[in-house]
Amino acid sequence: MQLLATPAGDTLLVRVDAARIDAAVAIDFKERMRALAEGPWPVVLLDLGKVDFLDSSGLGAVVAVLKHLGPGRRLELAALGPTVAKVFRLTRMDGVFTIHSAVPEALRLRPAV
């Protein structure tokens, strides 16, 4: 699974370059995210714009990353597709994460460093 990470100020923007976060890749996703999150950024913003589908394993992996970041840092989500949003809404995880409808313009325009 490809994750494209771009530091932007106090945020690490991570784009998931895959259509699915499911049981087949959930562990891989979790481990890669943990490795990326070793950096100092207080906010990790996960761009799910390319993700069409996320199952309970994928949801569990996203929650695991949130917990791994610890209380002083935040994992935020952006650009959830309808099926992914449905899973967050049904499980009420939409109340646990800050969810942006799209990646904020400022982050999108920011060049990679």
Partner: protein
Amino acid sequence: MNTRAGPGQDAATFNGRRGGASVRAGERSARLVYTVLASEGLAVRAGLRTVTEALAAAGVPEGLCGRVEIAVAEALNNVAEHAYDGAMGPIWLQVGRCRRSGDILCCIADRGRPMPDAGLPAGVLPALDTVLTGLPEGGFGWFLLRALGRGIRYRRAGGVNRLRFRISPEPGEVASVVSTAEPAPQSCHGSTKPVPGRDANDHLVAAMASPGAVCHSPHPARGTGD
């Protein structure tokens, strides 16, 4: 493991006696998917793609298609992770659509371990009002299945687990024009006479006993009847 799976010979067993009364007997439906897959992540993914492509081709609304994908994914993952406990085994998957209601009927069979206590998990949403470290990383699968599926039925017979459920369209969700090339209507109860009082999913169940059907009752393994 015995993975023989010839055409079912115990349709009566598979038809079961318990049926939801939510759908009238005689309702007609069309089978959209009919496949067998291995209990492994990438095979499950391929099976789900087969389902979503078939549903889209049949004009099933996108939202309904997404809910079916979530529910079927959780059912298949449960089989792979719990019934087969990570080992490889066959999963039979059949999906159809009731013409009257537009409900999507799903039927999943496997030869793995039975459900604990021969029942269905409660599927209660894990507590979220907790400190960060207490947030659940699992336990969402059956919750999602119960939240989306109606008429969920589980049956264990002849060493085979059979789970079936239906996903209904939401108000305002209307199917697009259905192709006239769609297969001829099939009774919700298969080629047999409709039996009053049966759940409409029984048509899938009955279909499993017909030649070439996939969600049929796999022939019981030697001496594993329970």
